[in-house]
Amino acid sequence: MKAITCTHLTKSYGNKKAVNDLAVSIEENKITGVIGRNGAGKTTFLQLVAGFIKQSEGKIHVLGEPPFNSLKASANTIFINDTMNLPTSLTIYEILKMGNEFYPNWDMELAERLFDYFSLDRSQRHDRLSKGMKSTFNMIVGLASRCPLTIFDEPTTGMDASVRSDFYRALLKDYLAHPRTILLSSHHLNEIEELIEDVLLIKDGTNHLHVSVSDLKEYGIGVQGESTNLEAWLKGKDVFHKRELPMNKAYAVVKKEQLDPNYKQAGLEVAAVSATDMSMYLTGTSEGGIDDVFK
């Protein structure tokens, strides 16, 4: 069964299409990383999935039904975001108890343990928490709710490195014990690369690539050599990235399947490309990089 399926999914604000003709189908009980640059449409896509907003065009099904205004989708989905609203008149501990009331799978014991582990103050109010503490608290809500569809949108904003790794570890352990569909958005993949199974790369509001992380790692290959030789060799190939190097050399990233054996004759060297770099090249705006600015 698919947890999320969408076709031609479009969400426009005025003339701008935040999500544009996106088609994707995400399998149940997988952790999927939603990766994209700022403004690529990640949050809009996740809000559509959470049923917070209604699509302008296309179709979306979450856990079997359109999520907008669906009580079933709401009960089985939780959306965690650093700007998420929580009542400020309740203490954060009261909010946990409220979550316990609302979410059928809520694990209060887990919530309390995490609460104590991260030494949160029970009588504190959500709006008074520091950015990092707020993210930590939101993360606890997201984990404890044990929703069949759990969405974390940039969950680690403001967290320090140790809390961050604690969070990913907690997420993994809880996922192992209670497998569920998890969407985890981030603009850098390297942090979550080990954790996720699939990657959904979003660029310009649409599904740019949806593959497993290991496939992403073997998706492209870096080629390096004399500029002129490289140029000649690159003809007719899909180039994801290219940059000039000192001494008239250049580096380019192409699709691995397009690596023909004659590269050695052209005096070129090859090297694998990390998934993080690959995702960066794929979601980048143009072939050129920051170096082009300084030409």
Binding site: L172, V213, S214, K217
Partner: protein
């Protein structure tokens, strides 16, 4: 073992290589059950699907065998397979390097072959 996510080697390859090393170290002996994908995920802090892929790779190479519902076990000739694989991998790499170096130094193919033959007869002579 520490997973290196920035490395160019996919994580599942790192996992399978680690298990191979454990078998060579005899941490796992013949017909012993190895870690499950969940144990690996927990230990290495990785997605269980990635761990499963690493295990599957070893099953494909017949280093491990699968018992339905019970888990993965070390094959009887696992050690040999690993050793052979590593040998051939290492040797191939060395040969590649030699060829590349010979190319740089303008050493012709026949010259290189004769160098290898000399080296081999020297080795034979030492043994005798």
């Amino acid at each position: 073992m520490i997973i290196n996510p920035d490395g160019t080697k996919p994580i599942y390859v790192q996992i399978s290589e680690w298990i191979e090393t454990e078998i060579l170290n005899e941490s796992f002996v013949q017909d012993e059950k190895v870690y499950s994908q969940y144990q690996l995920a927990e230990m290495m802090n990785i997605n269980p699907a990635t761990a499963a892929k690493g295990l599957t790779k070893l099953v494909e190479e017949e280093i491990l065998y699968k018992k339905r519902g019970l888990g993965m076990f070390v094959a009887s000739d696992a050690k040999d397979i690993i050793l052979n694989k590593r040998k051939s991998n290492t040797l191939t790499k060395l040969v590649d390097d030699v060829v590349a170096e010979a190319n740089h130094l303008d050493v012709s193919e026949t010259e290189l072959i004769s160098m290898i033959q000399t080296s081999m007869s020297k080795l034979r002579g030492e043994k005798e």
